[in-house]
Symmetry: D2
Subunit: 343 residues, 4 copies
């Protein structure tokens, strides 16, 4: 096997910088050789920050000018399918951020193309690589809490998403952009597919922030029945303002298991008995999942170098998209929606 | 006002003993003068435990033989209406355990009778008197987290309920017997009535415990939309085996608030680094809500002695029953149910 | 045995009110029949608050005018010996607040008088009755952490003590007034007597608060070697301003055990990710040890009514005083002091 | 400045592997080019694990055969002085593990040699680089708790140290080998030097483990007075068996601050209400201080490449050794020892 994986980063924004940091500082077997972004200023700034000499405004251009083995795609959801097909067509391994794509047709096209071209396809579900989530999986598989019966997963994010990420036509909204991780987590740890979903949404903060996107919501509550009879709950709040919050709770036949907590660093202060104790909260997702982002990139690099299928790929990305589609239909039609209506 | 409230305890089982303890040990202005229970052995044992000389197998008999001012009713739900009407008719103040009754007709009859006879009617929602719940209410009303948008309340209880408490015909099952507190809590702290509910249930443990009650479920997940647009979630697991678990989480426009935690006493032990830290969990509801049970009884005694309406009465009990009825119809008919379908 | 214990409260200040609350609201077998305090205003206010008709400015006067069975002494330390001897001489059972007395001669006189007059003598070490401390004792005795090797106990109190309580001539200062509980706890849970002690003190806040008491200190750190070879640490900070803080940590041959935590009520709020999570701290000792105060008074009432020796009496009070005396000599003479130098 | 720092690792044991991991996986500006260890098997195994081709049984040999810029010294304490002088004499920058050396003469020789040869000297006090300790420092310097008055630091380690590390003649024992970090921490965060120290030790587990080293102790409790009048406590337990435990608590004029907690990963399980909740503890120091080890090596690499003095160097290492020497004399002579007796 080759000693090193040459990577082109597609997208130069916030998520891109998180992966660039993993590639440059914590993944010695990878080399970040090129960056692509259609916005010149963002592109140049990120390239300079990570000392990358080659940067382009299109993936095609990068492919024509630089030799590399893999892409890490962090662009908006509506661009995923075309970029993934371009990369696969050029024989590049693909690390693809969540959500996988806008619909199942796009998912299928990406999966088909990766398979046809023999390239690795890994989805950006970094929570599976977080040491706490991984430990929880290990314990559940070892039978620590028996058969899971009820699983709850939440993601509350601090800031208002950009317009494309809250518009159902360009992204499927918060259920996809924020809660994709929860869709993956509940299915993974329950060990069963969704059978039907029911979703309620609310819009409390949109007006004050001048959001006029149709169907905008900033609170969502999902009720899931799994094929094995288990129950699931997902909640999303974005913008929640108070911090970055991602926690899971699972009740099994033998007991309960919690993953994560609201508290961030173990630094506690108290100076006023009327106010009480103060402890940090996680401010952002890169802070909460620092090791998850490093470990998922190590896994992608290893999978690509050895040609081994990654732990989380197209099938998992597709299921999360299916959940989002059923959930969106549910709140629009105000009824439970079966997965087989969208699959 | 009189110096002391003479109380007749109706029911002599587990909940009755919790209230007897409050009355005898922690409510000096009350006097426990009689106990009623149809089962002679249980009756005598509880009477002896609390040093009560007068005990009877029916409330009517107690009324005829002993002078008292108030009843504390802790019998099964299907007996509530008749007992409450008997007590009200005799001019006794009424402390009534949750759930209030089997249906709204019974609730209305109880409320009407209490009003007509000018007696106090307090419902057994002790969580409202728990110091932590009360502090949370104070903070929410003071605007600490802004307008509540999303509220989650859970109650997981350790043991299998008795047959009458899991049969929809005698009790409305777990949604009523276990989760009545959650129905009350979410409405109280959201500050809005339920508009519609959607419920999923699961039965994982019934077969192994030879439960053949129709429609039995041991896991329930409720999705609520409130009239003010807020969202709510209730979960119940019973028997959960692992302990007694009652927690609430509220996301408001300005922040998050949590009430309660899984941990019980602050006594931590670690003797094995492969096992890790061990901390007690609450084993039972009397342990978790020790102060709530004392404070609610103090409140009932004060309300009765002064003739002041209690903080939580028939209207609150009726709303919880309405939620249960809509929720039960939802999982039976597999669709969201509007409260105005049952009200 | 008699049905009820008639109690005269000696002292009407803050600690007195805590015990009056236990006697009136939570100890049905006791009756608070009289209150004594030399300061008329304080006396009348406390008597009125608890509905006590008989109150006097001296214990002798109370004895002459009211029938009662026991005293609860909460006055300043320098008054303990005389009051205890008066009570014992009159055949009254004695509940005596910590610290027991100013020196060992006084302790011996109290113990001797109680024994001679056949009255119960219980010391106010309420931590032994706190449910968490009691559970810890149970586990240690059951061998949960093996033989204790190292024990640390701390008490940090919010406010500046009154002048008499920081003057070595009237009280032995903070080591006695604040840390008496710690002296008792470490000896009790280590299961061994102190062999020698070394103490460092500091004065950081005195000047700013115009404290000119000689030898005043607001920080103290005690290093103890026990007769069994175990080690102990006590720390005191008063005024600490930030809250009431009382915690214990014990390392045994098999593991570690912690009692208590900084956090008070389980009510958590976060509204600002730059500030982080906020949780209440205990504000005062009556709040932290609410059940301890109730349980120790129940124990005193039961011991007095049945004539059973209480769990914690004169011997325990005397050892705490001995530790204080050795500790005080240590910081004054800047050397380790053996207990047999003061015993 | 050069692009990359070529490093020779001196020592190939457990601490060496932790640093090798940082150098190889997380410090792209460093290159691990050689390893030195006198034990051939350990040497070869570590070299193979990290893919290092050049390895030698002596530092001199490595210097003669390979070009490098810096050494990372992780060998036993009694070898530090000679190795550091050899490295400095050859112009190599030095990262030196704690404790710095056996005595102050050795410390002075190392500091002198580094200064004379113009090489960087960084001490292995990784806690200063731990994100939680660093955040605590930031807050203290910003005045969050006012002037520190009382600081407590503890390190309890799971396993029995090797013979050389518990023998006072080859290492100064646990006070140095385990608690060097605490000596540095309390001085750093108090912002003042030790003035005098008093130490008690105990030996509970030695006999059962056949330890016959003279003056062996497995429990230690240090009482410190700082030059600024502040108080400090250090405790050490090794072997403690129950896990790796490193925590700090500081009381300042305005409040309290805690760093670290007993709990490791946020993965909580409960399956038995009689047992209670179970949460992981940190098993080892590389796990607890994963980021501290990475960050201190980044700092060393940056300091070496830019020629900037590191945040923690010879002076800090020397003070920790001075504390250890005074502390050891204290427990041997059973009296408080002033630092100016050993400086």
């Amino acid at each position: 096997m080759p000693n090193s994986l040459r990577v082109c980063l597609v997208g130069a924004g916030r998520a891109a910088k998180v992966h660039a940091n993993s590639l440059v500082h914590h993944t010695p077997k990878a080399e970040l050789v090129a960056i692509v972004d259609p916005i010149p200023d963002v592109l140049r700034q990120t390239a300079e920050q990570f000392g990358v000499q080659s940067y382009y405004t299109s993936l095609v251009e990068a492919i024509q000018n630089v030799e590399f083995d893999a892409v890490v795609i962090t662009t908006p959801t509506f661009t995923h399918k075309d970029l993934a097909l371009t990369a696969a067509g050029a024989g590049k391994h693909i690390f693809l951020e969540k959500p996988m794509a806008l619909n199942l047709q796009e998912c299928d096209a990406i999966i088909h193309s990766a398979t046809q071209n023999g390239v690795i396809l890994q989805l950006g579900f970094m929570r599976r690589f977080d040491p706490e989530f991984a430990e929880a999986e290990r314990r559940i598989l070892a039978g620590a809490i028996g058969q899971p019966m009820l699983i709850k997963s939440l993601t509350h994010g601090p800031g208002l998403p950009p317009p494309w990420a809250r518009d159902l036509t360009t992204s499927n909204g918060m259920l996809a952009e924020v809660n994709s991780h929860d869709w993956d987590t509940v299915r993974w740890l329950m060990g069963s597919n969704y059978e039907r979903v029911y979703v309620e949404v609310a819009n409390f903060k949109g007006a004050a922030r001048n959001v006029d996107t149709p169907n905008f919501y900033d609170n969502v509550l999902v009720n899931i029945r799994f094929e094995n009879g288990g129950l699931g709950s997902i909640s999303g709040v974005c913008p929640c303002d108070y911090g970055y919050d991602a926690r899971v709770e699972i009740v099994g036949e033998k007991g309960i298991l919690q993953i994560g907590e609201l508290k961030g660093q173990a630094v506690l202060i108290c100076t006023d008995r009327d106010q009480g104790l103060i402890t940090p909260i996680y401010r952002t997702w890169p802070e909460r999942f620092a090791w998850g982002y490093i470990r998922e990139m190590e896994h992608f690099v290893d999978s690509s170098l050895t040609g081994t299928p990654p732990k989380v790929g197209g099938a998992e990305g597709r299921w999360a998209v299916a959940g989002v589609l059923a959930g969106t239909r549910s709140f629009l039609e105000e009824r439970p929606v079966y997965l087989n209506e969208v699959l």
